[in-house]
Symmetry: D2
């Protein structure tokens, strides 16, 4: 019963096979492998973006920080949600890669940026040299609270950014989960909605450590390549990354994996929303947009779950929110490898403990 | 006949098996996996350094840049050889990670820093605030010209550094090749000789992308961890790196692999030094310290080799050196997977072409 | 009627005389002038801090950014008020000098950090490597809203910081104004209250461009010196800065100047608080701690004042505040050279317009 | 007898008068003063560059570092002479401001970059992402060895840079001295010769701390302004800088001051080149291009000069050069305020000591 994070899972058979298969013989390094040529073609087709440039890195923090740095200047600011991963979980990597840029935090329920607040902020954005200059809007989908932007919401937020001349970044560490849940095309969730650069996650959805950065404006590609190398993020034996990504994108594996993770979360959610659960003190704290739930449970229930071997993180209550006495909050993340059995066992233990 | 680089090779069976085996079940991320506990213990034992701290990253550039940045300040300078990897092949990664530090280039034949020149430089090192302050000495073993520092040479250079209060970094992208050739212990080539931090290469010697940074002074460990995370170099699914490294260090696999690469190079070297080869215009340009040869061959020989499918890099002649007319220089790198057959075929074609 | 900023004023006669007098003959550069020896002694005496180190720079942004960078690491965060000068008015200089550190914004009425909120924030401050690490607390006195921290308030905030191991910086661009108004000693407002490093403003209070950084912990001094040089903030003809500062500190000139500015502000405030003024729509928006008032006036009054030649900045209403219809807000800053005549004339015009 | 540096001098009467005069009344800050409007117009006229943008900063290091950073990227390298001020005397300020860029050092006699060597270097400049990318050529005139580039030499070096797409920076800390000695126009020594951005020195030639950065391509101006503010180099009471610069440029004062400094150096040089001086062990080490001489003198002569109160710096012999036994090298710098009397007295004492 592992619900700590989707990065606690392993990789599906196809991915391990791809690594094994790529291991035969010699290959030129640093991205000049034939696997990468196929990955590039796959992503261009999947995103209906024949001009897009695609680069692989090994971590999501690298993907985000390099993508952002390529689109902004050190004297600018990155607009993001107060709980964005780039703000809370990357130990100043965006500031480091962007040469000392700032993050400006936006509010909004459920980890979703409030469009009105962003529009107001942009209307009053200063332009004199004394102030950090507007740089880029960074969205996260799924958000850090497990909720999901609709295509319409992304389009609206990106539209406000564009009105003020700002590019838009999408942190898609859980892009596949969002996409499958939203039921739209990759193009609809990205460049058609106004996204200029995407951190396209693979690791949380079944790879052993590969993220793609998809740059819809090829004019930025060379700078990205130099930044990647300078950051130490250009692998010499690059083929092992591209082979994984190729397998991931082949025959819709990435969508299947995300679908499985989402289904497990939906199974959890459906039960947790039952009237008796709610009556017993179970709360779902944010809309469930994909494969991540934030819940409040009685502490006795937490104890029973932990005693039975469930693994998941306590989660501090958001500032300004109330937690019921004798209860506390937690994050539950499902992954492609979460079994129905584990979900059901979790629910059984919970139900018994309530 | 692949002699382009040791990073063009695949991984041995044990490494692939380790990845496959690590793929079972769930694991906590970011280095909190049990494989890493074993790797730490292995390295401490191998290096006879029970206090050493050990961290894994995916690229050699990351290992070097993070190690250096942890030991210097932005207003300092890194002393290294004019042809050091950190100077020539990392696109300013050391400067980036060290917040704008400088590299001060030292001379010396065959990629080896001249100790007299370094001592003289240090005697005249400025201390006023106007000048870049002395920061660290960075050695590379094997060097970028394939030569090798002896333990005595490392000890002497590190001793000069220590006299002036400088720590010492060793870029050991080919540490195993140097160690096997030198026939000393890991401790003798590192902390006993005065090395404070080691980039301990794995990728060029058979891993799919893992380097260890070994910090002999544990007081620096926390800073390294924060720098690694901030650089986007802390993998979430860290177990795949530690599992590889564990296999690499088990039963001396790493030494076997380096021994094979060195033997292939020695086989090449022995023939190339034959009198008839030399008479026909073959030159070996630097002492062969491990698994890398720099050679000058008649262009007709290059042509014949390339026609037969040999893959290797042309290498620009070092400044101030002469190349015979109708000849040009090249780099030949062997790896753990270089077969005797490939070496012999290469030599046959060469001999025929001369 | 110049109320735009205290940096719009000139310098008093003593300061100009000091420049003229320092112009005679030759002097060694870069701080090795005899004026600086006297300045150092003066500040140590004034602050009752015989170990303090003192450095001069030409701008307040340089003073703040260098002071902060000397006390934190790039992976840390600076706690400051949401409207702090370092957040709003320095174009990312703190982030730049601190190598990509973050600013964490705290709330509180009137530009004053709320101690409860800060204490709560610190209790929940994360320590895992994923997160920006707590770095320093930066206070501003006078604040950017013209209010003033009492010694007790500084002591309390610094105490919270110290509890969590954080050093404390005080942005004292208007330190003299705060000090005179508070009626305490320099030591009481700084190191006795827990301040580790002070940006001691001179420019807004009568110098032509000199700020001192006072470091109460001399162990940090050498780093500061190197950072200053590296930032291009070490003047070659340093004597012109130190001569000004010497004059400023001699015979309490700095306190006299601040006293004059505060008196002008008090004269303004007293009238603006009169019942008839208030009834006519005049509002004082924040407690007046020294020489800066934020006011709301009917637009007709603004028009009359501007028509009569009054110079001051409109000020956007703080987020979440209401402005009366037909009114708008403005900032009025007095300086050492603000005459009673100008104040009275301003008030006359205002009264007539209401 | 002060020959330590031209930054040890004071300012001429006109400059002090300008400060005094600018002190009257109020002025808007941060460059929005009317003096600056005139300075901009003066420089555009003097340089015959009606589009040029002009900014003032207080130090030469700031001027150089900001100018360079505006024209390059962090993954690029700055080509400069091995003894350039930006390499030897700015404590990594260029690397800091340019976000971790590199300096690539070029050789050449007398502090002058050898054009053949630069051309060769550029022909072999690497373009792959592994390497620091070519960024900019930075020249210094007068050089750090007191020699002077002719217009033809600048044109040739800049031409090589331009062939490879590089912009050109000129560190003109002693631009006036070079210009007066060369007898050309400002345009001829800068943009007509291929210079894109100039650090136009004022401090060494009589200001109390003002340098102008002249950007011939106005497209770079906004970035420079933001970098200046972010570096803490935008003075609030900017008028004091612009008033000085206005006086400096009025009625050719700047050229008169440089002419005086050069004349004093020429007077020194003429005597030192006399046969009897040379026979007694006096050597002039580099061609004297303006107001700076490097000399070798018997140690007895040094002693006599110091005993008589002469102030100047010993200068370490350049690497690879020989110093006669019983002799050592020194730098002598004249300034606008060096009197004929001081020169003659210096020469008398020297002659007596030989």
């Amino acid at each position: 019963m592992f619900f700590a994070s989707d990065n606690g899972s392993g990789a599906p058979r196809q991915v391990i096979d791809a690594i094994t298969s790529a291991n035969d013989g010699y290959a030129m390094g640093y991205g000049a492998d034939t696997y990468m040529d196929r990955v590039r073609a796959q992503i261009r087709e999947i995103f209906e973006a024949p001009e897009a440039e695609v680069y692989l890195v090994a971590t999501g923090t690298a993907a985000n920080a390099l993508a952002l740095a390529t689109f902004i200047q050190p004297w600018q600011t990155i607009y993001c949600h107060r709980v964005a991963h780039i703000e809370e979980d990357e130990c100043n990597a965006p500031e480091f890669y962007a040469g000392g840029a700032k993050l400006t935090l936006l509010e909004g329920a459920d980890g979703l940026i409030d469009a009105e607040a962003f529009a107001l902020r942009m209307q009053n954005a200063p332009t004199a040299v004394h102030h950090a200059q507007p740089g880029i809007l960074s969205l996260t989908n799924l958000t850090e609270r497990g909720s999901r932007y609709t295509v319409a919401q992304i389009t609206r937020l990106a539209g406000i950014a564009k009105t003020h001349g700002l590019p838009v970044h999408l942190d898609g560490a859980r892009f596949a989960n969002a996409l499958v849940a939203e039921g739209c095309t990759p193009a609809e969730m990205t460049w058609r909605a106004g996204v200029d650069v995407l951190s396209f996650g693979g690791t949380k959805n079944g790879l052993i450590g590969v993220e793609a950065v998809v740059i819809f404006d090829p004019a930025k590609a060379r700078e990205f390549e130099l930044r990647r190398k300078r950051g130490g993020h250009l692998p010499s034996k690059h083929r092992y990354l591209s082979a994984q990504m190729e397998a991931y994108l082949t025959d819709g594996l990435w969508l299947d994996l995300a679908g499985r993770a989402n289904a497990a979360a939906a199974r959890l959610e459906a039960e947790l929303r039952e009237r008796d659960m709610q009556a017993a003190g179970v709360k779902i704290l944010h809309p469930v947009g994909g494969n991540m739930l934030f819940v409040e449970l009685p502490n006795t229930a937490h104890q029973a779950l932990r005693d039975a071997g469930a693994i998941y993180y306590d989660w501090p209550a958001d500032i300004g929110t109330q937690v019921a006495e004798g209860a506390s909050q937690a994050r539950l993340v499902t992954s492609w490898s979460t079994s129905e059995g584990d979900v059901d066992r979790f629910l059984d233990i919970l139900r018994n403990a309530l």
